[in-house]
């Protein structure tokens, strides 16, 4: 991976002014500083309304920044005029959640559109369209209209169209959010090929952790217009520091009991309950096994989940511990040396998980 940034945000701010009566001013992007390196797949994740879609539109100036800089390929786009912006945009592909295909044009017509905008001669256009439809696996659909295609096929057309003018950068705004799980996988595989085979830098906007886990090299987490955390995907997701990141990770993995599930667990398992993080580095479940063997403590797995992030294992296991209180404390101290242990207490003396997601407890404890 090259380290030259292809996109740099510097104190970038985007404010949507309210109309002074019904709608208030919105700071959609609030002082973002971030670099996207050439050749990587960069994810921007956050809940709805976090400012992700606005952030990505600052790159091709579909939304002009209010203040700060947005440097793309060495050019500060906030200083460009309309004609220069059009040239810049022709070199940046973009795909959308709702595909935004032209319904009055065939598949081939849609893919040819950016080529016509860029002034390609007709014969070259036709050859390029055929090549692109072949790349996305829709060579047989060239003469069909978008209304005749499935969602996944429409997004493939969107991708072919976005790649038409050989861009160095592809912006994907919730590109899989309107698709079912299986179709999503196909589109993610295609985006991965775009990055690996064509060497195109991809910026992915999503609220789906699975997309980041599968596709991205690095990720930025957004909340309220700010980037609250960013770095390599595994580092950010495996050791989430900001509450928003923790909740995003928790929602995606569902490895930790929700407050309601914990309440039910305590009825069946009144003893000491702890959640042990499982990571590739520090401790894996292997260390947990060792600690259980070396201490006179019984551990029963009552909840948990282990999955992969960026092709490395990640998750947590929740156990009920049974043993002399002193032995349990020694066991926990031993384990805490190599991993993160969250003490949830006992049924008689419960402790809450501050980052729990999902249904709330119905009453009493937790």
């Amino acid at each position: 991976m090259s380290t030259a940034p292809i996109v740099s945000f510097r104190d970038t701010v985007k404010v949507f002014p309210g109309d002074g009566r019904r709608t208030a001013e919105v700071r959609a992007v609030d002082g973002v500083t971030l670099d996207v390196h050439a050749g990587e797949v960069f994810g921007v994740i956050g809940w709805s309304g976090a400012g992700k879609s606005t952030l990505v539109r600052l790159v091709n100036a579909l939304e002009p920044a209010t203040s700060g800089q947005v440097v793309v390929d060495g050019q500060d786009v906030t200083t460009l005029g309309e004609a220069q912006l059009r040239r810049l945009r022709a070199g940046i592909g973009m795909i959308f959640q709702q595909f935004n295909l032209l319904s009055s044009r065939t598949v081939a017509g849609n893919v040819a559109y950016p080529l016509a905008v860029a002034g390609w001669p007709r014969a070259e256009r036709r050859a390029r369209v055929a090549e692109l439809l072949d790349f996305v696996g829709l060579a047989d659909k060239a003469r069909q209209y978008p209304a005749q295609l499935s969602g996944g096929q429409k997004q493939r057309v969107g991708i072919a169209r976005a790649l038409a003018t050989n861009p160095r950068l592809l912006l994907a705004d919730e590109a899989t959010s309107a698709l079912d799980a299986e179709t999503t996988q196909g589109v993610l595989d295609l985006l991965r090929r775009v990055n690996r085979e064509l060497g195109i830098t991809v910026v992915v906007i999503t609220h789906e952790m699975d997309v980041v886990k599968y596709l991205c090299d690095r990720v930025a987490v957004m909340a309220d217009g700010k980037v609250v955390e960013h770095g390599d995907v595994y580092d950010v997701l495996a050791r989430p520091e900001h509450p928003v990141t923790r909740r995003l990770v928790g929602t995606a993995l569902r490895d930790r009991p929700s407050p309601a599930a914990l309440e039910r667990l305590r009825r069946r398992h009144p003893g000491r309950i702890v959640t042990v993080a499982v990571r590739e580095d520090g401790t894996s479940s292997h260390d947990l096994t060792r600690a259980l063997r070396e201490h006179p403590v019984d551990g029963t797995i009552v909840y948990g989940g282990i999955t992969e992030i960026a092709e490395r294992p990640y998750g947590s296991l929740t156990l009920e511990l049974d043993g002399e209180p002193a032995h349990v404390e020694a066991f926990l101290a031993d384990l805490a040396r190599s991993t993160t242990v969250l003490d949830l207490g006992t049924a008689a003396d419960p402790l809450a998980d501050p980052d729990a997601v999902g249904p709330r407890a119905t009453g009493g404890a937790a």
């Binding site: 091709n60 579909l62 309309e82 059009r86 040239r87 810049l88 945009r89 022709a90 940046i92 973009m94 959308f96 709702q98 935004n100 295909l101 032209l102 319904s103 009055s104 044009r105 559109y113 950016p114 016509a116 905008v117 860029a118 209209y145 978008p146 209304a147 169209r161 003018t165 912006l171």
Partner: protein, 222 residues
Amino acid sequence: MNRETDWEYLLPLLGRAVGETVQMVGISLALAAVLGLVMGVAVYVTRRGGVLANRAVFAVLNVLINTVRPIPFIIFVVAMGPVVMLVVGRTIGTEAAILPMAIMASVAFARLVEQALVALDPGVVEAARAMGASRWRVIWSVLIPETLGPLVLAFTFLTVAVIDMSAVVGMIGAGGLGDFAIRHGYQRFNWEVVWVAVALIVVLVQVVQLLGNMLARRALRR
């Protein structure tokens, strides 16, 4: 009062009336198609957040359309008298009727065009802009083709409305089927003549609607 209808006398007059109606409606529609489309697109693109957002142009067009449209057509025809005198040189006859018809039809079509455009998903405009399309290219290569189906239906609706208008301008001596029905039918208590004229207008409207639906279906790719 009822006597044998003298069709030998009336038929040539009826033929002329059909010709006058077709002439008035045709010319008014041709003018309205161009003017209304331009105004409708202009209102849409100059609105807040539009590709050519311009508060002043939007306000002027919007007020113009909103002022002209609610005026009852029969009153509008009379009120336009001095303007028609200035432009056409006389205030009665088929030629004099065309100007108020064309103006009323243009503002009506402008609103219809705007409504068709408002219903368009702004995402496709954004996609075209993201590909580097200029504002003008967005207008002719996205806005119009993407709304062609609704636009054809709107124009069909307009055609029927303009046929309706053409019946009113008989009042200023413009002739046409409406005038024929009133003068040779209603005013002579000859219902047969009235109903023949009505039947002809109904047939005309049906043909227009059929044609419009057919073209719209072809334009809509869904």
